[in-house]
Symmetry: D3
Subunit: 63 residues, 6 copies
């Protein structure tokens, strides 16, 4: 029954997302002792105009 | 004052969304005894690359 | 597959929540043509110290 | 460490978002006495088909 | 219409939350040119068992 | 920079949460090639009165 939302910057390939949901599901299953089928993951992509650290948009971050 | 977020797979028409927000608002109003105008609904569409059950992306689900 | 989160002020009884999830599930099922079992609802109660409209906490709202 | 998500209707310029994250970060820093670098902001744009008040989608609101 | 959710570690006083919602509302109003009454803020307190950076729960962080 | 929210039913020990955040962080780091310190996890516990599948609260689920 765990429901997981992952916010990440845009630009990952479907292959990377595939790996991500496999690995996170496995991590949750072995940590909480739940069935794989009960794990739901929502990926939420953010553009670089839509994420900021310390008041600086990712698009403006030259660090 | 209830704030409702609904995550759903992409591909619904505006007409379906129209029906959805009418019906959900009505359901909330009659269950919680609040005024319709206090109910806010956010629809969040997910692509099939961005939702997984049991570690399988919706785009890969042949079930 | 719809995942629904409802933020509401604390103080509802279990009976009210029971009614709420039945009615909202029904509303989603008939609007989106999905199976009841695919609908997941998370209720998130907020204290009156944790919700504000127009910069005023619910606990301070004498309106 | 505060993590802030702001849902807003689409259509803001990058310049407006830039101002928004600067001002909100500043507001959080001075209210909670945290370091600017610990403040993370996620902007989530909604289309007018994806937001409703009182059961009416923003796209249908002629008010 | 902006809906803002702020996740913060538990332990703030009501007075601090009062200041926080006033200041954040003001920041949003002046950045987006919206009316104060349209700004809704949800505060979500996390215990130190419920927040982690780099795989370390806040309760275990001796840094 | 990934920000992860995990909704789970209440009742896990701190030790289980410790394992969960270690394992999920590791899964995200190896899948997305990000630094561990950039991964933030929020755990959100739900009571059995606050989660429903198919219109049935977890507290009422005798399945």
């Amino acid at each position: 029954m765990p429901i997981i939302q992952i916010n990440l910057l845009e630009g990952r390939t479907t292959e990377q997302k595939r790996k991500l949901v496999v690995n996170v599901t496995e991590a949750v299953v072995k940590s909480l002792d739940v069935k794989p089928d009960s794990v739901r993951i929502i990926l939420q992509e953010m553009t670089k105009q839509d994420y900021a650290i310390g008041g600086v948009l990712a698009v403006d971050n030259k660090g």
